[in-house]
Symmetry: C2
Subunit: 419 residues, 2 copies
């Protein structure tokens, strides 16, 4: 084991026993609420019903489709369903979606192997930190060559989260990480298919299985992540140095159910009444021009890639945070279609991919997604998004998280929960 | 989809609908018997009991530990247990162990999703051919960089085998192969740990899941194996051209429960009475000198890496095909220890890794493992090996295979089968 390799594995062991600071933990609670809302909506509208219905286990871990299952299989199903709409949180350092993987794993283990809500949130948080750290250690090249980092780095995070809840010793956690190294997978070639959400579910299952199997005495390579013939070496990992740091405070929540390239624009005009606007000019990074500048979308799906249409929705009071708002009817609504003509989009090399400048009848409105929202503002937005997705259940979920009531929280995840 | 990429996926589709020739099929039947014997012995002596005991599903697929489980989980458990002793068959073109993965997958699907013994054997055979083809397509570089080809290429073989039994349409099989591409994993860094057999079990499960999930309507990348950002591109695959050909006739069965480097030597003196030999000189490929030339082993495990000791066993009538023969007591037996002094081992650049030349009191005996055994001789050896591993159950298993009785075959796999 060389120094470089010992570095990342030692770091993961350090996260596994760390006590999370309260401000980062508060953000993780928002991510748990956000995860729940995305999963409930993903179960209803994600198209994974027939697949999930074919999976059948025995256990006490809650699945979004209402079944109870083994922790491993519940993690698989929930990781997939909560990523089905691609509306869950993102960490840009990690280049991936941390919560779909780690919360799915942590909840399943906490429900069946011990640990209430507080321990579940702690475990999910240190798992997310571990995933981000592995993502940074693997480096951009790993993602560029074709690995879906949400799943590959995420599986290691899920392993740390599950190991924390199971109370694994350091040596057992090393074996768990080694098992994860030989199981972790997920390709970017799956983007645009059901394989993308599935990757997240598989990563959550891998974490649960790696930790549970190590506890059952299964052994693995001493440093399967960073050692010789290990995950990093085989999977184009750069092995970049990573310091111990809490990074989940900078996680990004998605507040519009459309392409990320439209978000800065929608945020820039969030407090502006566009109804009477005559001429709107959107300045955006050149990259987005080929991604989300459809001038005349006629389906709900294509409307998610149209500056003109989402601004028409904003002008007409349609909630762009609501998945259901992006319907074919909305895309074809004559009033909205007419409004699109007022919108012009121009590329601007001076902006980052996270920035937009929107001119509304001469007045300029800027937004930068990289500028962090103050916590209270972010909390209000996450709650509003959850309400748009799941209605009044959002507030009940929030209270269950705040009160530390894991049982109630899990009961609220299923279709038609009882009172 | 470029021509090269379409090549391998089109080839797998061709295997999926091919009718196996009877001579290759007869070899596959031997491999099925060999797999069963290795799995029964692996369940008893492989050390995976506590791990398997923690896995619990509902289904009708037989596991070597006697439980009935879902097809996916039975494939996981059986693939792991049948590779636990590393005594199962090998294909040198594929650089891997085909049967542990494909038979584990095919049996589980045949038992629960329809298909008797004949269809199971056909499916396992075309799955094995598919695995060897993918192994050839990936090329040696994939193995050298650190991937455990038994598992990676094997998962695609298991997918084809399961798809055949499920009767998937070509389009569904493409999706199944794409799902397999994003799930397949397995690192050589696990060699020497429980992670190595686990890799085989995971590959068997991946094949079953990929095929069943594609049938349930899950979609994936159009050419996840060979297309852009697909498995080959990300996993150091060479994309070597591969022709349609039946290659499983050349599969190699292991007849001695010790390091492969000792096999040619043991075969060379198989018909020689060594008891009274005064001086034995073994000529072997230089590579083996550092691998299996322990002069004075004192444990059963180290005896598996000793020319001197296995020849002493042969001279004293100990069955080197019997796992249990390699005990600590055997390694320390004074008569055998004394015999070792008669053995000298020399490196010979002129031999291949598969060849040995053994001089016994001046008489020269050669063997080349690459020279195929005539079918009847091979069949007799496989039966004798199975008998050494599982006693009289070997003959009952053979009869169940010959008579096409899948139910009886499965019933014989479990501990203490009833009559």
């Amino acid at each position: 084991m060389n120094q470089r390799s010992e570095g990342i594995t030692a770091l993961l062991l350090e996260y596994a026993r760390a006590e999370p600071p309260s401000d980062v933990r508060a953000v993780m609670e928002l991510s748990v609420l956000d995860w729940a809302a995305c999963g409930i909506a993903g179960q209803a509208e994600g198209g994974f019903g027939p697949w999930a219905a074919g999976l059948d286990g025995q256990g006490e871990a809650t699945r979004f489709d209402g079944r109870l299952d083994t922790p491993a299989q519940a993690a698989l199903v929930n990781g997939t369903l909560s990523h089905a709409l691609d509306y869950d949180d993102t960490h840009f350092a990690h280049i991936g979606h941390p919560s779909v993987v780690v919360v799915s794993a942590a909840l399943a283990v906490a429900q069946t192997q011990g640990g209430g809500m507080a321990r579940m949130v702690d475990a999910a948080l240190i798992g997310a930190e571990a995933a981000v750290a592995v993502g940074l250690w693997l480096g951009r090249g790993h993602y560029q060559v074709g690995y879906h980092q949400t799943a590959t780095a995420g599986a290691f995070g899920a392993t740390v989260a599950a190991a924390r809840l199971l109370g694994l010793e350091a040596e057992q956690l090393r074996h768990a990480l080694g098992l994860c190294a030989t199981m972790a997978s997920g390709l970017k070639g799956q983007f645009g298919t059901m394989g993308k959400p599935l990757n997240a579910g598989l990563a959550a299952r891998t974490g649960v299985e790696a930790a549970m199997w190590a506890r059952a005495g299964m052994t693995s390579a001493p440093d399967g992540l960073a050692g010789p013939l290990g995950f990093g070496e085989t999977h184009h990992g750069a092995g970049d140095p990573v310091a111990f740091e809490w990074r989940m405070g900078a996680v990004s929540h998605k507040f519009h159910a459309c392409c990320h390239g439209l978000h800065a624009t929608l945020e820039a005009v969030r407090d502006i009444d566009l109804a009477g606007a005559k001429a709107i000019t959107v300045h955006t990074h050149p990259r987005w021009m080929s991604v989300c500048n459809q001038p005349a979308p006629d389906t709900g799906l294509s409307a998610k890639f149209s500056y003109a249409h989402v601004l028409a929705m904003a002008a007409h009071g349609r909630d762009t945070g609501d998945i259901a708002a992006f319907s074919d009817a909305c895309a074809q609504d004559p009033a909205l279609v007419a409004f699109r003509n007022r919108v012009r989009v121009v590329a601007d090399e001076g902006l980052s991919e996270m920035q937009a400048r929107v001119e509304v009848d001469g007045a300029v409105h800027n937004h930068d997604l990289d500028a962090a929202l103050p916590f209270e503002a972010r909390a209000a937005r996450v709650r509003a998004k959850a309400h748009a997705l799941v209605g009044d259940r959002a507030e009940a979920l929030r209270q269950a998280i705040t009160r530390g009531d894991l049982e109630r929280f899990a009961a609220l995840l299923v279709p038609h929960p009882g009172q």
